[in-house]
């Protein structure tokens, strides 16, 4: 890992995008928790992909990366001093979304049937090697199919409007996309969530570490105080999201263009997704690791203790 370029008291935090997973960062920032805890946020670039997050960490442009667990694991493969510093979302916030006129068993049909209904369909994902592709692969595996051969996966980029456009115009039959695409699709009548891990549709996959903040050991050493302050601020933000209904206003600002109905639908989901605290329960991390390994997202992932530092391990 590269050494930090930032002055004392300042942390640069790079994040993938402005999706639901990074709402805690926004809450903490808007409510001044970072300042309260003695951390100043410097640059906050949106980097789009895990590879760029890794590059920015490596080059010292940022101190912390906010992304999905996959990004942290990929970085670990390159630099084994990588470790997690906060949990932002503890559920798999990707849904399978189908169009209004999707032919197949209804949403209440057994999971197996719903998975079977996806066979041979065009399914839009954000990109190869992403968590959205992995979900499809995981589901197909469950039914003994191969995502690569039994469906056509279409790489749509991490652009929600493009995804909805593709679904609405019938370019794809289904989407595997992160929240709040499902809620927006529902609210605008384009489609609805068909299989949703965060809703508890997949047994044994209710809790998985997903939205995370990570960094390298160098930064953790060099900026231990700032990182600790950052962790305290996130902890407070996570608590607010779970308990304080007032955050709805913040969500409205955060997701400016989203449909009001979709937002109303989203809030309770987020209240459940955001963990209590910032720690990583063993079973949710292990579920995630197993998921990564079985879907081939990450070859040879590290163990729970390799990646979760002592103070964040919760049993």
């Amino acid at each position: 890992g590269g050494a930090s370029d930032t002055p004392e008291g300042v942390l640069n935090v790079g994040q993938i995008s402005d999706s639901v997973a990074f709402f805690p960062l926004y809450v903490a920032e808007e409510r001044g928790y970072f300042e309260d805890e003695g951390v100043e946020l410097g640059e906050r670039p949106r980097l789009g992909t895990g590879a760029k997050l890794a590059a920015a960490l490596q080059s010292g442009s940022i101190d912390l990366g906010a992304g999905v667990l996959t990004d942290a694991l990929n970085l670990y493969g390159r630099d084994d001093s990588t470790e997690l510093t906060a949990s932002l979302v503890d559920k798999y916030y990707v849904d399978i979304i189908v169009g209004e006129d999707f032919e197949g068993p209804g949403q209440d049909a057994p999971l197996e049937e719903r998975i079977d209904a996806l066979k041979g369909k065009n399914i839009g994902i954000t990109g190869p090697g992403s968590g959205t592709e992995a979900l499809v692969a995981y589901l197909f595996q469950k039914n003994g199919m191969e995502a690569a051969t039994d469906a056509k996966l279409v790489n749509l980029g991490a652009d929600p409007p493009a995804a909805l456009g593709a679904l609405e115009s019938g370019q794809v039959d289904a989407l595997s996309f992160f929240q709040p695409v499902a809620q927006q699709a529902d609210a605008t009548g384009v489609g609805s969530a068909y299989i949703s891990p965060s809703r508890g549709d997949i047994p044994g996959f209710e809790h998985t570490a997903h939205g995370v903040v990570f960094t390298t050991a160098d930064v953790r050493e060099q900026k231990s105080e700032e990182v600790a302050g950052f962790q305290r601020a996130i902890e407070r933000a996570n608590k607010d999201i779970r308990e304080d209904p007032e955050v709805e206003k913040l969500l409205a600002e955060y997701m400016e263009g989203i449909d009001a109905d979709a937002r109303a639908e989203l809030l309770p989901i987020m209240q459940e997704e955001v963990p209590d605290g910032i720690g990583f329960p063993k079973e949710s991390v292990e579920a995630a690791l197993e998921f990564h390994e079985s879907t081939g997202l990450v070859e040879d992932p590290p163990g729970y203790t390799d990646i979760v530092p002592k103070d964040l391990r919760t049993e």
């Binding site: 760029k52 080059s59 955060y254």
Partner: protein, 286 residues
């Protein structure tokens, strides 16, 4: 010939062939009519386009992907009020201007130099082309590692794109220069520098200006792509942020701002073109 200035006996050819110069009494319209009609046509066109868009949106095509002029306008008014617009535009504008200046200066210079050493140019040509065919987004991680995520990186990305276009156009312009004119300067005892400045530069101006012109959009695109790669400011960020939050009006509002910046830069290059093309017959001017 040293006695020339002393001589008083000069041939009487002077006054005879002087042409008749009369002051022109042109009306305002004769003077500015063409410019005025062109601007009128442009405005008419823009009004027509906006009207069609407004009417067709939601009817002929889904407004959730194309937005509506009124919505876009409302968004621009909001952003103007809260300062969002100016803050982000200013960032992007800086990147564009620096990138454009850097890239075109470099491109013009290297275009000059390499085109004067044709063998060298020929050797490098396929490499330059191959390099340019690489989509910069694919190298985003490298750019980040090498140049960070600050403004530098975006300026560089814009400059690199501009460079290529200006370079190739300048080089093409330089190779087209009339040998006779170059020889004339050599005969006057002019060296490489004189040839470059007094013949090649003015003669290849058109090529260079075409390069400058085609490079404008790419300076903007380069900067915006840089902001999409890594940013929390600038119009590129505004686009991706608006897209991520399903704010189509926001996306289009940003695109409108980008278009306006491009049109202004184009206008400036047009002025330059007008200045250096004064000697051309009216039909050959832009």
């Amino acid at each position: 010939m040293s006695t020339m200035t002393e001589s008083t006996q000069s041939p009487k050819t002077g006054a005879e062939s002087r042409a008749d110069v009369v002051a022109l009494q042109r009306t305002w319209w004769e003077r500015n009519g063409r410019t005025t009609s062109i601007w009128a046509a442009r405005i008419a066109l823009i009004v027509a386009l906006v009207a069609v868009w407004q009417l067709a949106a939601g009817r002929l095509f889904d407004a959730s992907f194309t937005s509506r002029p009124t919505d876009i306008w409302a968004r621009l008014v909001d952003w103007n009020a809260d300062g969002t617009l100016w803050m982000h535009s200013w960032i992007t504008l800086q990147e564009v201007v620096y990138g454009y200046a850097l890239g075109s200066a470099g491109g013009a210079l290297l275009g000059f130099v390499l085109a004067s050493v044709p063998t060298f140019y020929k050797v490098l040509d396929p490499f330059i082309m191959a390099l340019y065919a690489i989509p910069k987004v694919a190298l985003a991680p490298l750019f980040i590692v090498w140049f960070g995520i600050e403004m530098d990186m975006k300026i560089l990305l814009a400059a690199v794109t501009v460079f290529f276009l200006v370079f190739l156009n300048t080089a093409a312009g330089v190779r087209e220069v009339d040998r006779g004119l170059i020889d004339a300067v050599r005969l006057m005892g002019g060296g490489r520098r004189d040839i470059a400045l007094k013949v090649v530069l003015p003669a290849s101006m058109t090529g260079m200006l075409t390069g400058l012109k085609v490079a404008i959009p790419y300076a903007l695109i380069g900067a915006v792509i840089g902001e999409l790669v890594a940013s929390n400011r600038g119009l590129g960020y505004l686009i991706s942020n608006s897209a991520a939050t399903f704010d189509t009006a926001g996306v289009f509002a940003t695109l409108v701002v980008l278009s306006v910046i491009a049109a202004i830069l184009n206008f400036l290059v047009g002025l330059l073109d007008h200045r250096v093309s004064r000697w051309k017959p009216a039909e050959a001017r832009t």
